[in-house]
Amino acid sequence: MRDVLLIAKREYLEQVKGRAFKVTTILIPAVFAGLIAVMVFAGKNSGAGKHIAVAAESPALAGVVRDQLLADKDARMVVDVIAPADAAAKADLIAKVNGKEIDGFLWIETPAGGAAKAEWESRSSGDFVTEGRLTDAVNHALVQQRLAERGISAGQVETLTKRIDLTTMRIEKGKETVSNALNTFWAAYAMAFLLMFTVIFYGMNVGRSVIQEKTSRIFEVMLATVKPSDMLAGKLIGIGAVGLTQLAIWGAAGALFASTALAEKLLAGEFTISISGIDIALFAVYFLLGYALYSTLFAGLAATCDTEQELQQYAPLAAVPAWLSFGLITYIVSNPNSVWSVAISLFPPCAPITMFLRMASQFPPAWQIWASVGLMAVSVYVVLWFSSRVYRVGILMYGKRATLPEMLRWLRYS
């Protein structure tokens, strides 16, 4: 045990002091924050700042449409009203669009007794955000106008057509809690991504470290005093501790950031992510199990390779479960209790990611969590049995990469 701890400590210190650890600790949250900032910025600014014209026969209708559009502060639109509009006005507007004086115009026709018609004419198509805003505004205005035509007072019209937004509630243990579907999704996505990233990153890290020891030919020196199983155990513990350290740094930095005034301003109510103690505990459990699974797998495989390039050929073993889990992300979040969601969250290579996605939308029954943890523990044991034997033989073998039949033969004489 003393040897295991010494090796773990050496591995831990070497990695924590290394440049890669410092770079990833700072860079990864920075990249994350940058991506989120870009996404939020792009979302707020898409279709914003446009200069358009609204053309209708009825000045009142055009005015209401304009007021509707200006009410949306995010859009920051400049809206001209052309009313009453005729064919000459239309030709003039087309010329203006063509001459890039305005971005486009909304042409509304309300023939008496016929169906109303609205056209949006611009140089580009595919601006869904602007189209959505315009559709909302025209419909809202038409409803108001029709109600007014039927003799309903302006005040009543306002009350009748007032728009409401859905409030999503989540029922947990028989009690209602306010939940924001989108925020839940983002929280799940972030935690699952972080989990997958760290599990696979540190799993591969173990593989790389084994290759490095193999190429630096340190094994023969070490094995003259230390058992191979102690070396493997020390390495897994040491690198696992590095992973936990990094997660703890991110966690602490995140908590610290969330308590600052800046965060309050930025997240301003609409972006509250609540993470409970159970979430954190399960995150740690799934990190450790997922890490154990991938790292033992890669330690065994690395022992059969001579170079990192050869090890890269095994990377799909980690990438495919990750893709699979992320490909199913919307399905799992919207159908957390379907047979497929349950099945994939029990499947060990995908469990850490998919179980977290399910937890976010609805907390799964306890037995399913226990079952997935149990299945993972069993598969860790099986992979460890296989890997430690391959490892024992492989680390002293140089030359070409071992084939599967060779590895199976190694199982016998180790």
């Binding site: 040897d3 010494l6 630096s216 030919r217 005093t225």
Partner: protein, 301 residues
Amino acid sequence: MAAVVELDCVSKVYEQKIAVKDLSLRIEAGTMFGLLGPNGAGKTSSIRMMVGITMPDSGTVSLLGKPFARESLRRVGYLPEERGLYKKMKVMEQLVFMGQLRGLDPATAGKRAHAWCERLQILEAVDKKTEELSKGMQQKIQFISTLLHEPELIIMDEPFSGLDPVNATLLQDTLIDLKNQGRAILFSTHRMDQVEKLCDAICLVNRGRAVLAGGMREVKSRYERNHVQMSFEGDNSFLQHPAIAEYKDYAGLVEIRLKPHADAQDLLREASRKATVWKFEVMEPSLEEIFIQTVGEKIDA
């Protein structure tokens, strides 16, 4: 006296290849033992079984007078041929780590490492990362890490390869000191001149079997003094003398191998009649010749 290490009829087979077959040898305290043999003869395989990296298929290994046990490895120092160090670690950290793995506490390991670095003249390197050092320096660090825990059995696979003559001599002298302190030292090498100079006993392995073993003097005495080295000036027709099996003429210096039981004195008389002889020395064959002869015969067989 109990042997420090003893192999008794040890065999090891990898898949189809026989690595070691019925090998027996013993090394006593205070001796230097040379394990010789061509590439792939089974030297490294034998050593790996002594230090528990692999287990023999049959036969027994005894370490320090007891059947092999992992605890005994704390008293063994092993420098493999394929050398490895943690490249990113600083020299002193590395030495202390290695010392700790072999049971030392950090303070003792540090103190001894410092003393050794001083002795081997690499004190200025202790705070550098291993990857920044020259190959020769790295080799010295490995050498130190092998000796830090004052092992009773020191096993070195090709310890002098890649060292310049000054450093090779430095390490050689260190090994002789250790031997005189009563440690048992086993080393394998291809350099027969070093073996001849340093070793008290040898074992020559070929194709996994011991083909020649025993004390250095005893092994050599099994071979006839049938080698002549001479230098002369003048007529060289005496080289056709019937006692000569073969000769090599290196411009004035001739190396002669005599036929079995030939009379060297008669050759000397013949030579002095025809030429001026400056030097005429009858020698036992060098270890190198014994090596080539023994291994070569086996390959022919």
